[in-house]
Amino acid sequence: MLSIKSLSFAFQHRPLFKEINFDLVPGKLVHLIGENGTGKSTFLSLIAGFRTPNEGSISYFNDKGEEVDDRRVYIEYLSAEANGLYTKMDATQNLTFWSKLRGHKYSTQQMVEELKKWGLGHPLVRTNFAVEKFSTGMKRRLALARLNLSACPCWLLDEPIYGLDTKGIDLFKSAILNHKESGGMAFIVSHDTYPLKELIDEKIEIGAK
């Protein structure tokens, strides 16, 4: 469970939100809504720990109800305008690096399976192309594959389906369903709500006056 207590934040002297109280429980996908510039991405970056809240606290609990000290093992963050990929490396190298950093030891077979799942399984795509040669959608798919392999209970998704085609969106949906079934949770920011309709469990409006 992720518990937010009276969270307030002001960006460049502009109060974005005040006194947000919210508990994100396992198995839920929460959609953050609000107009442009109301602070949805900022909200995610607060949970990810890139910014410190002016007031309030965010606590992270594992499935046994114990508080997690290191938020970094708990969350996996997907930024809106970047994928966090080493552009000179190929898909496998990227996935291996990021999952090893989390201490996961996936076999080559598992990596290939994951890449196949996202339609990046072709041997040439997998190992021969630096990510900089990928299309926008392919890069997003690879970032989502990393997300899936991270095995973190909480995902922070900022416009995750940006650049994905219908097939990519379907893949994303099934990944989310899997994540929820295994007790995972997620915050999602997306203006393209139609394809995600059936996945969303709850909505919070950010920056409501």
Binding site: Q12, H13, R14, R51, T52
Partner: protein
């Protein structure tokens, strides 16, 4: 919105008057030093300036440690203020040292250990100020500037040591040594008074500059608020 802090203003005026009195005493009252003549009087400005410059470095170190420890933005604001004041006094120290060097050593600049160290200190202060201004977010400023502050402070003793070795090994020691036992008690006590006043002025300036920085940021906040009110109304 004008804030006039009377207490600060009066303190400033008192320091100024004290400085003027001390300078008057230094220039016209105290006896001339026998070896150098009237030129020596520049130590009453030179030595206090350099002391204040090094005091600023010390304040910068304290603020940097505090900044990393408490993650407080205030401490990097004071850090910037002390770097700026430090830069001012470093330049003052360098300029007076150079002016003093011309008649005593016969040259405007010599690679004397202290001059060199002070010169590098000036460059480091410049670096700190530039870095402060080129980082935008408050949190980044706290981290990045505090780290640099600590690096600068750690480096000063090493620079000093290296430069001293460099000079002592390759040049006969200067005939005239600043300070030392040759100083008469009158000169020494006046010098100490001058140093005390200059240090007080340095600290006063740092406080003023700090207030000035916060005021600037408050004004920015105020203008943001105004914009928002106009948008809202």
């Amino acid at each position: 919105m004008i804030i006039l802090d009377k207490k600060q203003l009066i303190t400033g005026c008192i320091f100024f008057v004290m400085l003027m009195l001390a300078w008057y005493w230094s220039l016209f009252v105290v006896t001339t030093e026998e070896h150098q003549g009237d030129v020596y009087r520049i130590i009453y400005l030179h030595v206090p300036s350099v002391f204040t410059a090094f005091l600023s470095a010390f304040i910068l170190l304290c603020m940097s440690i505090l900044g990393l420890w408490k993650k407080s933005y205030k401490s990097v604001q004071v850090g910037l203020a002390s770097a700026e004041v430090g830069l001012l006094f470093t330049f003052l120290g360098l300029a007076t040292g150079s002016i003093w060097g011309k008649p005593t050593w016969g040259t405007w600049w010599t690679w004397d250990a202290r001059l060199t160290t002070t010169f590098i200190l000036a460059l480091l202060y410049c670096g700190y100020i530039l870095l402060w201004n080129s980082v935008q977010s408050n949190l980044m400023r706290i981290k990045v500037c505090s780290v640099l502050g600590i690096m600068i402070a750690a480096n000063i003793p090493i620079i000093y040591k290296s430069v001293t070795w460099w000079r002592t090994l390759h040049q006969p020691p200067s005939i005239f040594r600043r300070g030392g036992s040759s100083m008469s008690p009158e000169i020494l006590s006046l010098l100490l008074i001058n140093i005390a006043i200059m240090l007080a002025i340095g600290i006063w300036l740092i406080i003023q500059r700090y207030k000035n920085i916060t005021l600037g940021e408050d004004l920015e906040e105020e203008s943001y608020l105004q914009i928002r009110q106009q948008e809202g109304g």
